[in-house]
Symmetry: C2
Subunit: 197 residues, 2 copies
């Protein structure tokens, strides 16, 4: 009923997670009635990020650089590698301040049903890094879900084959929980109480 351009904007906003038809409409009107400057900035920020943010060549985390800030930092322990499912997990662990090593971001987990195999998670890259010899410890921080556990198990085997020590975050993470919703305190416990597997 309103203008086609407003309808298109409402539709487009609905791609965002957690945004239903009502809130999409509220957002569209808010931008057009009260904050066109903010809307312009948002459009620009989206385009810039989409165009320029890719994956780190070493850890696969999202970055606009060839190699991300953590992988290229001399202040990080480059021999200690924490494997996580998503970039959000890196942010959560960084906020806790408990970990001084580097990451490997799978961008998902093994899921044969969805056709997601080792290649899709960059496990060939990870394997090459493990064989290389710089990494001495792998900390598995995939989510404690069925898929996360299966993925952890796969990587555990890979690390053992390469002769690299492996541990798994254990204490404090509730079963079935997702890493990104866990507080720093619980996370610190999980790091401190990690077990060799």
């Amino acid at each position: 009923m309103p203008s086609p351009l407003i309808n298109s904007l409402v539709e487009a906003l609905r791609i965002l997670p957690g945004v239903g038809p009502k809130s999409a409409q509220r957002m569209a009107y808010y931008v057009l009635e009260r904050n066109r400057k903010g809307g312009d900035k948002l459009a620009y920020a989206l385009q810039q990020a989409i165009e320029k943010v890719g994956n780190c060549a070493k850890c696969r985390d999202l970055t606009e650089a060839e190699v991300c800030g953590i992988c290229s930092s001399p202040r990080r322990l480059q021999h200690e590698l924490c494997v996580v499912e998503n970039p959000t997990d890196v942010t959560v662990i960084e906020q806790s301040g408990i970990f001084k090593g580097v990451y490997f971001v799978l961008m998902g987990h093994l899921s044969p049903i969805d056709g997601i195999g080792p290649q899709d998670l960059g496990l060939d890259i990870l394997k090459a890094r493990l064989v290389e010899g710089e990494i001495t410890e792998v900390i598995l921080a995939t989510n404690p879900t069925v898929e996360g556990e299966a993925t952890a198990h796969y990587i555990q085997q890979m690390a053992k084959d390469a002769g690299v020590a492996v541990s798994r975050l254990a204490q404090g993470i509730p079963m079935g929980g997702e890493l990104e919703y866990i507080d720093s305190g619980t996370l610190s416990q999980a790091f401190a109480g990690r077990k060799t597997v």
Copy 2:
């Protein structure tokens, strides 16, 4: 800690109503990890709407046309004018299907404290239309809040001065409520039970 471009995107998303730091981050990662095409579409829809959507010359509602679809429709009763605060209110009333006339959208309400006077609400345009003679009835549908009532009162006087009948939506709208959150049934009642003021 992540890339500056991701940070800018997270910041930009926070202008949207109801989006806090956590959901902004989730949205940014979602777009970059899983839906870059949707993100591109959103950026384009924002730019198009911001560039091309303006206000209807007759009713001030948001539209990309000179005069909006409702104001230019031969199937609408052009002599019956419903005054609302926001474009969202037009959408809500249209969804109820109870009203066949046209609208005047104030884009706010009188608020001396915020320096919002009659001019800012386009009341000079409304006055000119009332004096013109085409409109025979004004239905006041501003929100039943203190400011909404004061605005209604002001327009009521204006309509009376121009010799135009005025009514105010009454039954069914809870005090202090906002029009955009009201269901169609309640709204139908409010239209049917409107009183001449």
